[in-house]
């Protein structure tokens, strides 16, 4: 279990770089920081126009869905590149939740209902979410709802992007995963630390759902892909923090010198660069393992999440500190990155939870 078979491809292909450039262009036009900050205080924290451009315009919602089911038939490698750019822009779109986690959960199901829903999610015109708390780890526990006489009852908290979705994939106590229309449940927004990926409570009071398949493997698959690809979002986020801070410190002068010329700060930025470089290797490795269906996927995902989460938080915290007073303001976007990074460090399992998973996977057992 401590050696792996085939070598992962850790580079970006030309096609992946072209995809990155296209997504970055789109985000530059539609997702500048000022707009994101304004939007966080509106009634629709997510950006439907941006979502439409990404999904309808570029077909990105269907990257993981096979072509015969209306998707692009691409892999986790391309999705990872998209997530790097979305992380760099702290884009308020339900991409990770709908196009990755909910889509992966559906890919673990069989049957007409699941197939039809998959095709709808691939188009982006229907947005879905797995009704499991954002904090749940792939191997961790999660809540379920009661099923009584064919109807579902219960309350689920911490559901990411629930306010943006049309359909929820709900795990029930009978072991099934059910599709439930968002219009049939009560979605109550929670005041969330991360303003760009808000959470909500979902209350089901005797709702009829369509059974899609077994919840166990579907939830696990969804959360595992979510955790592995979240590392790419964290990479993009950390990279933005580093780049922006370096830019700022080259311009900002104190004591009649650019602040970036002081060794105490240079060393902190060089250290951060090293962490970002390492995160890129770990995130690429996880994306490649998921894409290849490698036997090493569980290890690759746990390593990526155990490493990337603290790096993203560190990058955002350094960015705030090194921007000085301006970093503490609402108008400067660094707070969006700090809030997203800290929330991401809990999403799909903390670094600690992933290290515990590794202890089992690589045979380094606790005392």
């Amino acid at each position: 279990m401590t050696t792996q078979g085939t070598q992962p491809d850790l580079l970006y292909s030309e096609e992946e770089e072209a995809l990155r450039a296209a997504v970055r262009d789109l985000l530059a036009d539609h997702c500048d920081a000022g707009r994101v900050i304004t939007r966080t205080e509106s009634d629709t924290p997510y950006d439907p126009a941006l979502w439409k451009a990404l999904s309808d315009g570029m077909g990105l919602a269907g990257l993981l869905v096979p072509e015969e089911q209306g998707g692009q038939g691409a892999t986790h490698r391309e999705v990872a590149v998209v997530l790097e750019e979305l992380g760099r822009a702290v884009a308020p779109v339900p991409y990770l939740t709908s196009a990755v986690v909910a889509t992966e959960a559906l890919l673990a199901c069989t049957g007409e209902d699941a197939d039809a829903l998959l095709t709808e999610l691939a188009s982006g015109r229907t947005v879905g979410a797995l009704a499991v708390a954002l904090s749940a780890a792939p191997d961790g526990a999660h809540r379920t709802v009661r099923d009584e006489g064919g109807l579902l009852y219960g309350e689920l908290t911490g559901i990411a992007d629930a306010t943006a979705v049309h359909v929820l994939l709900v795990p029930a106590a009978d072991g099934g995963l059910y599709a439930v229309d968002a219009s049939a449940v009560t979605v109550t927004p929670q005041i969330s630390l991360d303003l760009t990926r808000p959470l909500a409570t979902v209350t089901l009071d005797g709702v009829r759902g369509r059974r899609l398949g077994d919840a166990g493997p579907a939830v696990r698959r969804g959360l595992r892909a979510g955790a592995g690809l979240l590392a790419s979002e964290q990479l993009g986020l950390a990279d933005w923090c580093l780049t922006e801070t370096v830019r700022h410190l080259k311009e900002r002068k104190q004591f009649n010198r650019p602040v970036g010329g002081f060794q105490a700060l240079k060393h902190r930025l060089a250290q951060l660069w090293l962490e970002v470089v390492n995160t890129r290797a770990a995130a690429r490795n996880a994306a490649d393992a998921l894409a290849a269906g490698s036997a090493d996927t569980d290890v690759a995902v746990a390593v990526a999440q155990a490493y990337a989460a603290p790096v993203a938080v560190h990058a955002a915290e350094e960015a705030l500190q090194l921007h000085g007073g301006i970093g503490m303001t609402w108008e400067h976007p660094v707070h969006l990155y700090l809030k997203r990074a800290k929330a991401d460090s809990i999403a799909y399992g903390t670094a600690g939870a992933h290290r515990e998973a590794l202890a089992r996977l690589v045979d380094l057992q606790a005392p």
């Binding site: 090293l274 995160t279 380094l364 057992q365 005392p367």
Partner: protein, 402 residues
């Protein structure tokens, strides 16, 4: 790979494989003898295939060396013990290739590669470490010779070396980087005295070298007079870019022995050590992946700046892992294998005990550029941050405060 190899008629993988088999047929390794085989291999251009023809190479892409090495290894051919002659291979050879005369290349490269002549590097001095250009060893021109006086330090292999690459001050009246010249020094000459330098581990892996009236012929100068700093940059760059075609398996570094001890000796486990071990295991694996990513970039012909950071990462990681290992061993961690002064030919981290690993790895953040200097290099060359103001830039070396 094969198409990319056809640069200006350079041999491709197929051609190299054919030539390797030809060498093996003409000089069966088991009957030929070690040195004779290595000489034949050098003469066939299969020593370092990216070097020019006649100098041990064929002008082929560097990445194709792996093709030759694999064929030779499969046939049980001897290698040139690259770890033992690392300074010659990694530092002296690329510098001689880059700056030497044809005569110098023909004289030095073959015995260097074959391992008949070991090399050492006379760069660091007691007063010139991170600020290497401040060096004070003097070389004064006398007819066709240079007369060298000074002291060098941290010289590994000096007690084994036949030759040294040496930098010395030839003009004290110009700013420090401009008055340095680069030489090849004969270690058997009168006036060269090598004294073992015993270290923290109890061993004398390095030496102090005292140079007193050593005469070096001008024909052993590498590059122009006063251009030694630029020549030395080639050496130093090659020292830091030692990562190449090597693929490291998971747990291939210092984390390996610790993980093994953890698995085999459950009585040593504590919760605190478990948390730290898992964290370091993750960092070791991520460091390995970064190295692998750099390797893939090099093979794809898109070298990235990642190499600048690898040594930094490994230095800190080695120190933390070996520190954890000593603690994990508890009562045994209080013991040390052997304090006898010995003179090892190699630094062997894996074959030694935890206490040695802990002490020796402290040097990882100092040797080959301190971590502080490497962080400056990353900050300035990769991130483009300004350098700190300098007071020594336009001052003649002789006028510097010291």
């Amino acid at each position: 790979m094969t198409d990319a190899a056809h640069r200006g008629g350079a041999p491709d993988a197929t051609e190299l494989r054919r030539r390797t088999r030809e060498l093996l047929a003409a000089h069966p390794p088991l009957e030929t003898g070690r040195t004779a085989f290595l000489e034949a291999r050098f003469d066939a251009g299969l020593a370092w295939v990216h070097y020019p023809e006649g100098l041990g190479g064929l002008g082929a892409p560097r990445t194709l060396q792996a093709v030759v090495d694999a064929e030779l290894e499969a046939a049980g051919a001897p290698d040139n013990d690259p770890r033992r002659i690392g300074i010659g291979l990694g530092m002296a050879a690329p510098t001689i290739l880059g700056f030497g005369t044809q005569e110098q290349k023909e004289r030095f490269l073959r015995p260097l590669w074959v391992g008949e002549e070991v090399w050492c590097q006379l760069f660091s001095e007691p007063g010139a470490g991170s600020d290497l250009a401040a060096l004070g060893t003097r070389a004064v021109r006398e007819g066709d010779d240079w007369v060298v006086d000074g002291q060098k330090v941290w010289t590994s292999s000096a007690h084994l070396a036949r030759w040294a690459i040496l930098i010395a001050r030839t003009d004290p009246d110009v700013p420090k980087h401009r008055g340095i010249t680069y030489f090849v020094c004969d270690m058997t000459d009168p006036g060269v005295e090598v004294r073992p330098l015993r270290q923290i581990t109890g061993e004398a892996e390095f030496n102090e070298v005292f140079l007193t009236g050593v005469r070096i012929p001008d024909s052993h100068r590498l590059g122009e007079v006063g251009d030694g700093w630029r020549v030395a940059q080639t050496t130093l760059m090659n020292e830091r870019v030692s990562i190449g075609g090597m693929r490291i398996p998971r747990e291939g570094g210092m984390i390996g022995p610790v993980a093994k001890t953890w698995r085999e000796r459950p009585e040593l486990r504590t919760h605190d050590l478990h948390q730290r071990l898992l964290k370091l295991w993750v960092e070791a694996e991520v460091g390995r992946l970064t190295g692998e990513r750099l390797r893939q970039q090099l093979v794809a012909g898109q070298p990235g700046p990642e190499g600048s950071g690898l040594k930094l990462g490994f230095a800190r990681l080695n120190q933390e892992i070996s520190g954890l290992e000593v603690e994990l061993l508890g009562e045994e961690g209080l013991l040390y294998e052997d304090w006898t002064m010995r003179r090892p030919e190699l630094v062997d981290f894996t074959g030694r005990d935890a206490g040695y690993r802990y002490l020796r790895s402290k040097g990882n953040s100092i040797e080959g550029g301190t971590s502080e200097v490497l962080l400056n290099i990353v900050a300035e060359r990769v991130l483009g941050l300004p350098s700190e103001p300098r007071t020594d830039k336009d001052v003649a070396w002789k006028d510097l405060a010291r």
